[in-house]
């Protein structure tokens, strides 16, 4: 670059403006740090045992079969819940996207209200419905579907039902955005080229909504990994998830290091799923 008329003064104005805009970075850096800091500290803590740097907490996790069981249960439950959420949520999001604007807004609002309601209250509502003498068992017996009350609450099944109900709205919102954004002309084009409605759905609509399904499913899966209240109340002691083990380590054993290590593992799993998602969806877009 050769210097020119006023180039010095222009460069200095430029530099002072850059300096000013760097000031703006502070809030961003501050908040990002604030968001991350507790986790970094958690990470540090997880490598300390008896005042020394050590991998003890992680080693114990691998060695103890009950931890392995907890991990398996957590992943299994998350996978089951995610699968059902996708199966129930896809047709719902698709159907809502076809409704006229007013009806669609109403449907989404109705779906939204429970979403924003206290997790505890939602879990409790399912306890009421699923218990031995709850509404579902009462009806099932009255209709003659079963003879004795089913064990719905205090089980993997009950926990899953509660979690499916809790996660469904988020999945529907996520997918709805994608589905609604699909250009309807493409469906017309497919019909014009000779595709029956079912072929159009399979060859055009489904592939185009896939990024939304993947995003929604991964987010659902991630959040399911962190559930504590629902498995605690609806699992009735028969379902143990990682966050429950964190809680036990603190309240019962006061073992902060072990709790931290569990937390770190959970965060790492979340980060991995999120990065995978970014890679998968990013590549398609």
């Amino acid at each position: 670059m050769t210097a020119g008329v006023n180039s010095a003064i222009l460069a200095s104005v430029d530099a002072s403006e850059k300096r000013q805009s760097h000031l703006l970075l502070f809030p961003a850096i501050a908040v990002v740090s604030l968001a991350i800091a507790p986790f970094l500290w958690l990470g540090a803590l997880s490598f300390v045992a008896d005042g020394q740097i050590s991998l003890e907490h992680y080693a114990r996790m691998l060695a103890n079969p009950s931890y392995i069981t907890t991990f398996v249960t957590t992943l299994q439950m998350s996978a089951v819940v995610t699968a059902f959420v996708v199966l129930l949520g896809f047709p719902a999001a698709y159907a809502i996207s076809l409704l006229p604007h007013r009806l669609a807004t109403a449907a989404l609002t109705l779906v939204a209200i429970p979403f924003w309601t206290s997790l505890l209250v939602r879990t409790y509502a399912w306890m009421v419905l699923l218990q031995r003498n709850g509404l579902i068992n009462t009806w099932a017996i009255e209709l003659g579907l079963v003879e004795r009350p089913m064990r719905l609450a205090n089980s993997f099944l009950g926990t899953s039902i509660g979690m499916i109900h809790i996660m469904l709205p988020l999945f529907i919102f996520t997918l709805y955005g994608t589905v609604k954004a699909i250009d309807r002309t493409l469906l017309r084009a497919a019909a014009n080229l000779g595709a029956s409605p079912i072929r159009t759905f399979m060859t055009v609509f489904l592939p185009l909504s896939l990024p939304g399904v993947v995003t929604g499913a991964m987010l659902t899966f991630i959040i399911c990994l962190g559930f504590y209240v629902t498995p605690q109340l609806l699992g009735g002691g028969n379902v143990t998830t990682i966050p429950m083990r964190v809680q036990q380590n603190i309240l019962i054993y006061s073992d902060w290091g072990a709790a931290s290590a569990l937390g770190v593992v959970l965060i790492v799993i979340v980060a991995l799923v999120m990065l995978t998602l970014r890679a998968v969806v990013g590549k398609r877009g």
């Binding site: 493409l186 017309r188 084009a189 014009n192 000779g194």
Partner: protein, 359 residues
């Protein structure tokens, strides 16, 4: 191979709004017919009814004498080029073009061959493996055409296929599309709101207005003999001068039978004067059957390939005179402020009925 289309009494209402008002129309096999009109005139509804995406309330659409009005779109076998091209973003160029063939169960080998042929017809064969997102607007347009012709439909519909392209490319594509249509010999129904496009490409133009066909004729007849003030105003530049003004102030050496024939049935006739059809009366042309009017030049605009004079007639009406910019013309062109006498030949005048046009 090309099919004829016979539309009769087609009606479509949206609530109170009448989008198609008993429209009847025949398109002969191999014809290039353009539906031209302002937005809301029903041209798109008519096209969509032929494609099967709009279900009319009543009426008949017959292709080669077969009634199709109640058939779903995927059973009509009509090619269509959409306004935004509607290429499938999750498929390559070749997969897009191969899609209708796959649906028809055409085997891999033949399919590949026909994809290549269709892409070659629009000069896109080098782009077969590209993603749609990598294509420019003009390239997408070509792929959309390839996809619409690859399964050899007898009728091709086009919904403002060039409206998203810039001017130079649009003009190139007009010529190309027209040549392609002639070469393939298909029946084409084309929708546009660009009158120059319609005039250049069409065998016939149907000018639509408020759900009806206002006039259907060849481009030359539409421009030279518009059926109404609406058509004259919509297509080309026109200045309108009431017949009463012309006949009272003008030296109208117009044949009596010309006037009778043209004015006879009109309640409130006005003259349509086209800027390029008006001449300066130098006195050299003494032919009969011409209209002569006096006025003053208000302003002269230079537009590069044309000079436009705004001439205020004695009656106060302002009309335009347009001429190409050859030096010989520019040198003798009237200056702003100078008096001028204009001349229009009988054959260059058309007369329509006065009406209020919404703007």
């Amino acid at each position: 191979m090309p099919s004829s289309i016979e539309i009769s009494d087609l009606t479509k209402r949206y609530g109170q709004f009448v989008s198609l008002d008993n429209v009847s129309l025949s398109v002969s096999a191999g014809e290039f017919l353009t539906l031209l009109g302002p937005s809301g005139s029903g041209k798109t509804t008519l096209l969509m009814s032929i494609a099967g995406f709009t279900r009319p309330d009543a009426g008949s659409i017959r292709i080669d004498n077969k009634e199709i009005v109640a058939l779903p779109p995927h059973k009509r076998n009509i090619g269509m080029v959409f306004q935004n091209y509607a290429l499938f973003p999750h498929m390559t160029v070749a997969e897009n073009v191969g899609y209708p063939l796959k649906l028809r169960g055409v085997g891999k080998a033949e399919r590949d061959q026909r994809i290549t042929a269709a892409l070659a017809a629009v000069q896109m064969d080098r782009f077969a493996s590209r993603n749609v997102a990598q294509l420019s607007g003009g390239q997408r347009q070509r792929v959309a055409v390839a996809r619409a012709i690859v399964f050899e439909p007898n009728i091709i519909l086009m919904d403002e296929p060039l409206s998203a392209l810039d001017k130079k490319l649009r003009e190139e594509m007009q010529v190309e599309l027209k040549h392609l249509q002639v070469r393939l010999g298909r029946t084409v129904v084309y929708v546009t709101h660009d009158q120059k496009e319609a005039l250049t490409m069409s065998d016939r133009i149907a000018v639509m207005r408020a759900g009806k066909i206002e006039q259907i004729a060849t481009p030359k007849d539409i421009y030279e003999a518009p059926a109404s003030k609406f058509v004259a105003d919509f297509i080309g530049d026109s200045d309108f001068v009431p017949a009463s003004v012309v006949l009272s102030t003008g030296d109208h050496a117009l044949a009596r039978n010309f006037l009778q024939a043209k004015l006879g049935s009109l309640r409130d006739p006005i003259f349509v004067l086209r800027p390029e059809k008006i001449e300066i009366d130098t006195g050299a042309d003494v032919s009969h059957g011409a209209l002569r009017l006096s006025g003053t030049v208000q302003e002269v605009l230079y537009q590069g390939n044309a000079l436009v004079a705004y001439i205020a007639l004695e009656s106060g009406q302002v009309i335009r005179l347009q001429r190409g910019t050859r030096t010989s013309i520019m040198e003798s062109f009237p200056q702003a402020g100078s008096p001028v006498r204009i001349l229009v030949h009988e054959k260059d005048i058309c007369i329509v009925e006065q009406e209020e046009l919404a703007r």
